[in-house]
């Protein structure tokens, strides 16, 4: 029976955590009760790992518990709607990732960049095209040449239409390399499809497929970035192959609702900075190939709104 009581207590805590308490705690003694961290995707994905690692590390410097709740759905918009509509008192923080920002550009959800205050962009990674090592095209040149000769014959597993994956394929198509976009909503199915030989390639960031690269099942052939990736120095950039595609990096940030006071934002920013400076975080981001110098303040805010505009412009083409 102990376990039932434990679970019920846990649920009750989660319930209370999201409830708005009457009266706002003064910013000076923030935080004096648990801070809820909303992960805007289900358990097991990149956003979830980032959120949970961050929560663990921020607990130390903030000195309060940071329970994580997964509020998935609608490309992350369900969780963000909750973040936006909860009181802007710093007791609800959330993950905001580029995939969700791209979804705004394609008209999904009713969230806007102005609805949020980005505390810090903590992870970022360019995306690659990976091919199965058992497949016929082992270099980007071979893959692209085949696609040019046989428009639409190459299939690429992506995370969906209207995402940066889609935009990249559209830009390639404009350059004469027409490949078919095959959206897989479930990441597991997306990874399994090229390995099983059902699609010719997959568009992904290296951290999400690290175990398949290590096992020799997937091989990177091209990176969509200004420069070569330090972990994969042999993989050419798309610009080297004649098609300059960059600025579509997949990034993840911690955000709060707009209207949160500057003092609270400063405290959260400091806590995130302490977390990202820790050895645990460095090991985590190195393993997922997502280490960056955290971007904060207006620069972080601009990153989100510029990205939305960029994707919107590309989709309108």
């Amino acid at each position: 029976m102990k376990s039932i009581i434990g679970k019920v207590t846990l649920c009750a805590t989660a319930l209370l955590g999201t409830m708005a308490f009457a009266g706002s705690a003064a910013a000076q003694d923030y935080p004096n009760r648990p801070v809820e961290l909303i992960v805007t995707f289900g358990p097991g994905g990149g956003a979830d790992l980032m959120g949970r690692t961050m929560a663990q590390l921020m607990e130390e410097s903030l000195g309060v518990a940071i329970p994580v709740s997964n509020v998935g759905g609608a490309s992350g918009n369900a969780g963000l709607t909750q973040l936006r509509t909860n009181p802007a008192d710093g007791y609800t923080i959330g993950t905001l990732i580029s995939l969700t920002v791209a979804s705004w550009a394609s008209g999904l959800g009713d969230n806007k960049p102005e609805d949020f205050r980005v505390i810090s962009v903590v992870q970022s990674s360019p995306s690659f095209l990976f091919v199965p090592t058992s497949g016929p095209h082992q270099t980007a040149e071979a893959l692209f040449d085949f696609a040019k000769a046989n428009p639409g014959a190459i299939t690429v597993a992506t995370s969906g239409y209207g995402t940066q994956d889609d935009v990249t394929l559209k830009l390639l198509s404009n350059a004469g390399i027409q490949m078919e976009n095959v959206p897989f909503q479930a990441p597991a199915e997306r990874y399994a499809s090229p390995i099983g030989g059902h699609t010719s390639a997959i568009y992904e960031e290296p951290g999400d497929v690290a175990q398949f690269i290590a096992a020799g099942q997937l091989a990177p052939v091209v990176v969509f970035a200004k420069e070569r990736h330090s972990e994969f120095p042999d993989v050419p950039t798309s610009a080297e192959l004649g098609i300059d595609i960059s600025g579509l990096d997949n990034y993840r940030s911690i955000a709060v609702a707009a209207g949160t006071s500057d003092e609270i934002v400063a405290k959260l920013e400091a806590a995130v900075a302490t977390a990202t400076a820790s050895d645990e975080w460095k090991a985590f981001c190195a393993k997922t190939y997502t280490c960056i110098t955290p971007v904060t303040g207006d620069a972080a805010q601009a990153m989100v709104s510029d990205f939305r505009d960029l994707i919107a412009a590309q989709l309108a083409n």
Binding site: G107, L108, G160, Y161, S193
Partner: protein, 498 residues
């Protein structure tokens, strides 16, 4: 080292005091959580996730594996005793298990259920231990068209539930599929039937619908009809099932186990389609198929065996490929990655002792489940003696928490309550609600697999028939339809001739 030696080492590790206690604790949490209406084993695993931070990687997997195995069975306890499935996979247990309870054979039903579940789980765990490698490559042969075909087979099995009202059953199923389309479509990001309500864009979750229709609907009915839940005494079968009862359903258990192992291997399927398909096939195979739904032992044993047989099978793609096949295994993946362990082919090379300890733990958990299952079932049958009003209050509270816990959203609670009222109404007029739930579960899956299959084949719909595995499964579905419609068609044909 051979697999047998490694497994021996795994058993030694799993029988160490702390490891063993971890498995037992997980198992008990799983059975209790599974049996509580409204809280599924997936909820329990998600809630247990933060506790695994402090554990060793292997220990965390033993804990979650225990919850998984116990939880998949636990749902059947409440399904059999009070007609409220504790988890979606236990839905078929209400069809033949609850009628047995009504006959005063609750104990016998529970014994058959736990034996079937443990057998299915055990075979599946052994398969995981010895056949992981070949089966992993088999799972990779499945792509979107095959997933679609398997989902269609699941939808078609619903005809098996239709006792003598196929039309109403189909209406209910289609209604469920319509409910499943609410929200943003899986491929194009188009919002459907959301009426401008932001929460509706994330869709209506099947767990919420199930809790509403079954838990809340059942409780309202319980209070409205003032039914007595107390187990009937003096039915002379208080000892539970005898060995000959189990031997009588061994065929059903074996068939269910086989189906569960196959379905579990397919990433994306899982316990619920496994149990439903097993029930449908058993109805066709069994000599007493036409009496299914009135408390027939085979109708209980087959889906019970199948749903637990998916547990070990679903861990094959997780451990060998790093690809989780269900919500439960996705949580296990999260736990492993948070510990810095990447499942996949390398895990077998880098840390075989961990892998084989997990295998051993799955085997042990399934054996221990017989004891845990019967123990918790005893506790629950004691609960049945509490006045219905008190029980009802508890179920409603748990349902609300469960609906909220699906994705921590209060909107889901309102949806759940609305479906509760609907469920009660449906029960009153005799409109079947189970096909509706299956429609909500399988409809969105079928849609997603269908659209992705087309996107991957230049919108060529013949892809479903030109791929051998997909074509075979679809043929099976067709045979299934003809088989279940055969009696009706026969009379129609004979009438024509005369």
């Amino acid at each position: 080292m051979s697999a047998l030696e490694l497994l021996g080492g795994g058993f030694l590790a799993a029988f160490e005091l702390w490891a063993f206690l971890t498995i037992v604790t997980g198992l008990l949490i799983g059975v209790v959580a599974g049996a509580l209406p409204g809280i599924s084993f997936v909820n329990a695993m998600a809630m247990a996730l933060p506790f695994t931070y402090v554990m060793e990687p292997t220990q965390s997997m033993l804990f979650l594996g225990g919850i998984y195995v116990g939880g998949v069975f636990g749902g059947s306890i409440s399904a059999i005793l009070i007609n409220v499935p504790g988890t979606p996979a236990s839905l078929p247990a209400t069809w033949d298990g609850y009628p047995m309870t009504k006959r005063g054979e609750a104990k016998r039903a529970l014994t058959i259920a736990v034996t079937a579940s443990a057998t299915g789980g055990l075979v599946s765990a052994l398969m995981l231990a010895f056949l992981s490698a070949p089966f992993a490559s088999f799972a990779l042969k499945f792509s979107q068209p095959e997933f679609f075909a398997a989902t269609v087979l699941g939808l078609v099995s619903v005809i098996a539930i239709a006792k003598d009202q196929p039309v109403i059953t189909m209406v209910s199923l289609l209604l469920g599929i319509v409910v499943g389309t609410v929200g943003v479509d899986p491929l194009y990001g188009q919002a459907r039937f959301s009426f401008g309500i932001p929460e509706m864009e994330s869709g209506i979750r099947f767990v919420v619908v199930m809790i509403g229709l079954f838990a809340i609907g059942e409780v309202v009915d319980l209070l409205a009809t003032n039914r007595d839940l107390r187990p009937k005494k003096a039915d002379g079968k208080a000892v539970g099932a005898r060995l000959k009862d189990i031997l009588y359903v061994k065929g059903a258990i074996l068939r269910g186990t086989g189906i569960g192992c196959m379905i579990g291997l397919i990433p994306g399927a899982g316990a619920t389609p496994g149990a439903v398909i097993a029930y449908g096939i058993e109805k066709q195979v069994s000599k007493r198929g036409d009496k299914f739904g009135t408390g027939i032992e085979e109708g209980l044993a087959a889906p019970e065996a199948a749903k637990n047989a998916t547990t070990g099978a679903a861990m094959v793609p997780l451990l060998t490929l790093g690809i989780p096949g269900s919500a439960a295994t996705a949580i296990m993946l999260a736990a492993m990655m948070l510990q810095g362990v990447n499942p996949g082919p390398l895990l077998f090379i880098m840390d075989p002792s961990m892998v084989y300890t997990i295998f051993a733990a799955m085997i042990i958990a399934n054996v221990l489940m017989i004891g845990a299952g019967i123990g918790v079932a005893q506790m629950f049958s004691t609960l049945m003696r509490t006045p219905p009003a008190i029980l009802a209050a508890f179920i409603i509270v748990l349902s609300v928490i469960g609906a909220y816990g699906v994705r921590n959203n209060i909107f889901d609670v309102y949806v759940c309550l609305a479906f509760g009222v609907l469920g009660w109404g449906m029960k009153r007029v005799g409109f079947p609600s189970a096909p509706l739930v299956l429609g909500v579960i399988l409809g969105p899956l079928a849609e997603r697999y269908f659209l992705t299959s087309l996107a991957n084949s230049r919108q060529d719909w013949t892809v479903f028939f030109t791929r051998p595995i997909s074509a075979t499964i679809l043929c099976l579905a067709l045979v299934f339809i003809l088989w279940s419609l055969a009696p009706g068609l026969k009379t129609l044909f004979l009438r024509r001739r005369s």
